[in-house]
């Protein structure tokens, strides 16, 4: 745990005009080589935490450090060399080919007038290969399926050659196979490539199977934080999600199953 890439400490934030704070003292750390998942119900503060962690929002209290340096002191460009983000929504205004899209990941490494160099080509080719999208390189992005689109965006993030990969709800529009494929890829990136991976997700069960560390948020507070087995316990989840549920062991990980409520 000595190579922390991201560390957020006691972060608090209230949006202007909002009744309740969106975050009330949340801490999370992402070491190199580990996959950290942030889960929780809608409105629990997941996306706000992400924005604060990425320096898009300044917290009212607490501190976010990337590589030991306050995130607000990084320029966007140098930050993009350390941290790559697959945002929840992205709609290109004009058609673009996959290869050109992935090349945009090289932007933080380039000068304004410089051409495309060998290092850029290598980074793009290996990023495409890593996500098994080499065959998609000449396709237009608006012809891709949801799963292919997510993989291509992960490839662009990898072309940034970051130390930390951040994804916001990456499986929202994906079917079972594609969400398993994506999380498997994230697990490989953390385990083999040694990246830090921070993923915000609704999918508690996916988080439990792939994450090393799960942060469960509720009402802007930490409801539980730790290994999946420590977070996926019925009492905690029932309180957070306000629904009766049970935990079963499957494939070596705890999985949460909601119960049918007899009387609505």
């Amino acid at each position: 745990m000595d190579t922390l890439i991201l560390r957020a400490t006691d972060v608090a934030l209230r949006y202007p005009g909002a009744q309740a704070p969106a975050l009330r003292g949340v801490s999370v750390a992402v070491p190199a080589g580990s996959l950290v998942a942030v889960a929780g119900p809608n409105g629990s503060g997941k996306t706000t935490l992400l924005r604060v962690a990425l320096g898009r929002l300044a917290p009212d209290a607490g501190l976010v450090e990337i590589e030991g340096r306050n995130v607000t002191t990084w320029s966007r460009r140098s930050l993009a060399r350390q941290v790559a983000v697959v945002a929840q929504r992205e709609e290109p205004a004009f058609p673009i080919r996959v290869r050109d899209l992935v090349f945009l990941g090289r932007y933080p490494h380039r000068s304004a007038w410089g051409g495309i160099g060998e290092a850029d080509r290598v980074a793009v080719a290996s990023a495409l290969e890593r996500v098994d999208a080499t065959g998609l390189a000449d396709r237009w992005v608006d012809t891709l399926s949801g799963g292919e689109w997510q993989r291509v965006r992960v490839a662009r993030a990898l072309a940034q050659e970051p130390r930390l990969l951040v994804l916001d709800e990456p499986t929202t529009s994906l079917d079972l196979r594609h969400e398993m494929e994506l999380f498997t890829l994230l697990g490989v990136l953390a385990g083999e490539a040694g990246l830090g991976v921070l993923v915000v997700t609704h999918e508690l069960n996916l988080a439990a199977r792939f994450a090393d560390d799960v942060l469960l948020l509720a009402d802007g507070r930490t409801a539980a934080h730790g290994a999946p087995g420590d977070v996926l316990v019925p009492e905690v989840l029932e309180r957070v999600f306000e629904w009766p549920l049970g935990i079963v062991q499957f494939d070596g990980a705890p999985q949460c199953l909601p119960r049918r409520r007899r009387d609505p």
């Binding site: 320029s75 966007r76 790559a84 945002a87 673009i96 050109d100 932007y107 662009r156 940034q160």
Partner: protein
């Protein structure tokens, strides 16, 4: 990227420049044109080529290129394929700035682009404000509607000033309302270049961040773009290009819309290719449009903005249908 397309684009520019110089009330044959360019042949032909036609064609090419470049850049920052300096009201605002300055007696050629820039920036700021439907949320339909309305208003006020003022320079009022290169000279070309060249360089240098901004502001920021700074630069540079164009040639619409779309079909949407191509093709198209304006109803001359509108409006309708489908 296919190098043949660049050969075609450059060849098209050369041919359109030659056509622009050759056509007019005195038609110059290709051999006479080559002789004149080599400093030989009939002195009166040389006179026509170097004193009358060449400065006009050079200025027209530069203005067309500037409008193409401004349109392509605005389409990326606004993420809107219908963005164009004219449709966004920037040209109209610039025209109002120029007409106001001349009516006040401030008609030094070097100063007019500044007056135009004031008008252009004011119009863009107003249109942008109208298009903001929430904090940081730009509705591109309302933006265009606002642009058209602000442009119409600026044109109406310009027309009123032209009608009421008796400044000598406003006698040829059609120039400011519909555009034209009748007053072109090497001096005008120099003034235009002095203002437009730095702005064009700013836009060309922003080619990479424009690729990012076309993805959306949030992804662009995460990929390392300083979004606010890029937007500010592009708005200022596009306004300055438009202002310089309007100051020397009046309000010319649709070049900034039609040219980037035509170029996208040929070289794609990556801005380090799109922007230079939009400049070259914009220049070629406006030179040909001006040649048409000079010769179609000779010996009289059509304002070149009428020619570009006749070409541009059908293209606008096609793009509009595809965009809203």
């Amino acid at each position: 990227m296919n190098p043949l397309r660049w050969v075609l684009i450059v060849a098209g520019a050369v041919v359109s420049l030659a056509v622009g110089v050759a056509l007019g009330s005195v038609r110059i044959s290709p051999s006479a044109l080559i002789a004149a360019l080599a400093g030989e042949g009939d002195p009166s032909v040389r006179q026509i080529v170097f004193v009358l036609r060449a400065p006009r064609v050079a200025l027209t090419f530069a203005v067309g290129g500037a409008l193409g470049l401004a349109g392509a850049s605005l389409q990326a920052v606004l993420r809107n394929p219908l963005a164009d300096p004219y449709l966004l009201g920037i040209s109209g605002g610039a025209g109002l700035g120029v007409v106001t300055a001349i009516a006040l007696g401030l008609n030094a050629l070097w100063g007019l682009p500044i007056a135009a820039f004031v008008g252009a920036s004011a119009a863009l700021a107003l249109v942008y404000r109208l298009g903001l439907v929430g904090p940081g949320m730009l509705d591109s339909r309302i933006l265009l509607l606002g642009g058209v309305v602000v442009g119409a208003f600026a044109a109406a006020v310009s027309q009123a000033i032209v009608a009421l003022a008796d400044a000598q320079a406003l006698r040829n009022a059609m120039l400011w309302l519909w555009g034209g290169f009748g007053g072109a000279s090497w001096l005008a070309a120099g003034v235009f270049t002095a203002y437009a060249a730095p702005a064009a360089l700013v836009l060309l240098a922003a080619a990479w961040p424009l690729d990012l901004l076309a993805l959306g502001e949030e992804p662009a920021a995460y990929l390392g773009a300083d979004v606010e700074r890029v937007k500010r630069r592009v708005y200022l540079a596009a306004s300055l290009l438009t202002a310089a164009a309007v100051a020397v040639a009046g309000v010319i619409g649709f070049v900034g819309l039609v040219v980037p779309h035509a170029v996208r079909l040929g070289v794609g949407h990556v801005h380090r290719r799109l922007l230079p191509a939009a400049f070259l093709v914009g220049g070629s198209v406006l030179v040909l449009a001006d040649a048409l304006a000079r010769t179609a109803v000779a010996p009289r001359e059509l304002p070149v903005g009428i020619v570009t509108a006749l070409i541009g409006v059908p293209v606008f309708m096609v793009v509009l249908r595809r965009w809203t489908r």
